[in-house]
């Protein structure tokens, strides 16, 4: 593994909670270069030859193993599109941790567009954690446009945690999922924007098999002059159940457009959506102030709890 500098190490800690080399399989990418890779008997990682990116093959029946694939960018002016494909074998049970950290102190924009495709085998169970983080005080923007595609076979389940809470100037997130019989998808998205940031998050979840279910929940906070559009659509094409929820806190001069939507193409589909946008309740601040916190400390506690 090549040596990482302090900034890269800090980014790594932010996006993958990694302070040292993890156990299990991993693939580190730093400033568009491979910075380290480890495979295991059950998990193989192969570089793509036609485009930038990797194929991750997880053998059927692999249990309790993890794959880390963090990306860090610390040079200004980098722009890359990376394709990562995950082939998750039947009956496996794995944790996948991805994430991208950008530190841009320069004047040129830095951009990482990651396209992640998951092919989840029958009865496989996946927990996917993705964190995005930006830092650096340069004029150059930190841009992340992740595309996530999930193809779920019968009886598979996937839990996705998508977190972007700091420092990304512009993001367009697109997540598409296709579920077969009895497949189950749970998504927890947490988003915070500040300054002049713009974030667009689009979900298109297709429940195409009987017994499939999806629960897509977004919690977001828009501060300063930032803008968010949350567009979450669940489509019921069979005897399925779907729930989508956008819950947002708006502060300062922030703007949030929440568009939870449902499309039923089967009379057996049971679909529910909810959306709420509001400022921090005054009584919440008051309660924490009676416990000795200042108004600002109370606000921080409420937001960090909300985005936990």
């Amino acid at each position: 593994m090549i040596q990482m500098d302090a900034i890269q190490k800090r980014l790594l800690a932010e996006v993958a909670d990694l302070h040292q080399v993890p156990e299990g399989a991993y693939n580190f990418r730093a400033n568009s270069q491979l910075a380290g890779r480890q495979t295991t008997a059950n998990i193989d990682i192969v570089s793509k030859t036609d485009v930038s990116g990797i194929d991750i093959h997880i053998k059927p029946g692999t249990k309790k193993e993890s794959v880390h694939i963090p990306v860090v960018l610390s040079a200004s002016g980098l722009k890359e599109t990376v394709y990562n494909d995950f082939y998750i074998g039947e009956d496996s049970d794995v944790v996948i941790v991805a994430g991208c950290g950008i530190d841009n102190c320069g004047v040129q924009d830095s951009e990482h567009d990651g396209v992640h495709r998951f092919y989840v085998g029958r009865n496989a169970k996946v927990k996917y954690v993705e964190k995005h983080y930006g830092s650096g005080d340069g004029l150059g923007k930190r841009i992340l446009n992740p595309v996530t595609e999930v193809y779920m076979e019968e009886g598979s389940s996937m839990e996705m945690e998508m977190v972007q809470i700091k420092g990304v100037d512009s993001t367009e997130r697109k997540t598409v999922a296709e579920l077969k019989e009895n497949a189950k998808l749970v998504v927890h998205e947490r988003l915070m924007t500040h300054g002049e940031q713009k974030a667009l998050s689009v979900y298109d979840v297709n429940l195409s098999g009987d017994g499939s279910s999806a629960d897509v929940v977004s919690r977001s906070v828009a501060r300063d002059h930032s803008y968010q559009k949350l567009d979450m659509c669940v489509k019921g094409n069979a005897a399925c159940s779907g729930h989508t929820e956008c819950d947002s806190i708006i502060m300062d001069q922030g703007t949030i457009l929440a568009v939870p939507s449902l499309e039923a193409n089967s009379v057996e589909a049971m679909l529910v959506h909810e959306a709420a946008i509001g400022k921090i309740a005054g009584e919440q601040l008051t309660k924490l102030m009676t416990l000795g916190l200042t108004e600002q400390e109370a606000e921080e506690q409420i937001i960090s709890g909300f985005l936990k």
Partner: protein
Amino acid sequence: MLELQNISFDVDENGTNKEIIRHLDLKIEDHKFVVITGPNGGGKSTLAKLIVGIERPTEGRIILDGEDITDLSITERANKGIGYAFQQPVRFKGIRVVDLLKIAAGKSLKFSEACDYLSEVGLCAKDYIYREVNASLSGGELKRIEIATVLARKTRLSVFDEPEAGIDLWSFQNLTRIFERMRKEITDSTVVVISHQERILKIADEIIVLADGRIQMQGPGSEVLQKIMGTESAVDTCDRLR
């Protein structure tokens, strides 16, 4: 000692001035269990909010142990040792019981310490400590957690606003035991409870009856209770539930 000197509190109601508290003078001695009662709309909750700093008086001064705290914020008063249990406990998305207790205690808590505060209010820490303080908890559970946050602060003056409000009688019977124990163990703190319930009034060292923003009666618990039994100020629980 807490002293309210000539406190008035007015609100603007559709363009007309309404007096909620009128030129009220009150002294609450240290190490006492004091119950404030009186008809609804009489100004009890407003009085509690004035003590805690959530509302500011239109005129008058509030003195705590000789220090004028009238112009202090909620936070400053909390840090001077004033605790407050809300009548309607506040819900939080994502904040867990243990997080609230930690904030209240002002330090990180060992599991056993959190357990002490929760068992004090009749909750098993194992079942509750990692639960979010949100709508998944019942009214009674939220009330108990609210009280536990005040206990965790180790305040010198605690104000409980209608602990019986919004919970069922069954839960309330259990809740009164918390106050009975608090009364017994009171040593270096003062407890002020706003309540109509006979069982709470019975354990008071002192009862204050507040109506129309004025103190109508104030004196030793047993004396005042005799005079107000059967009125709106002292509500008996149903005989069958005793």
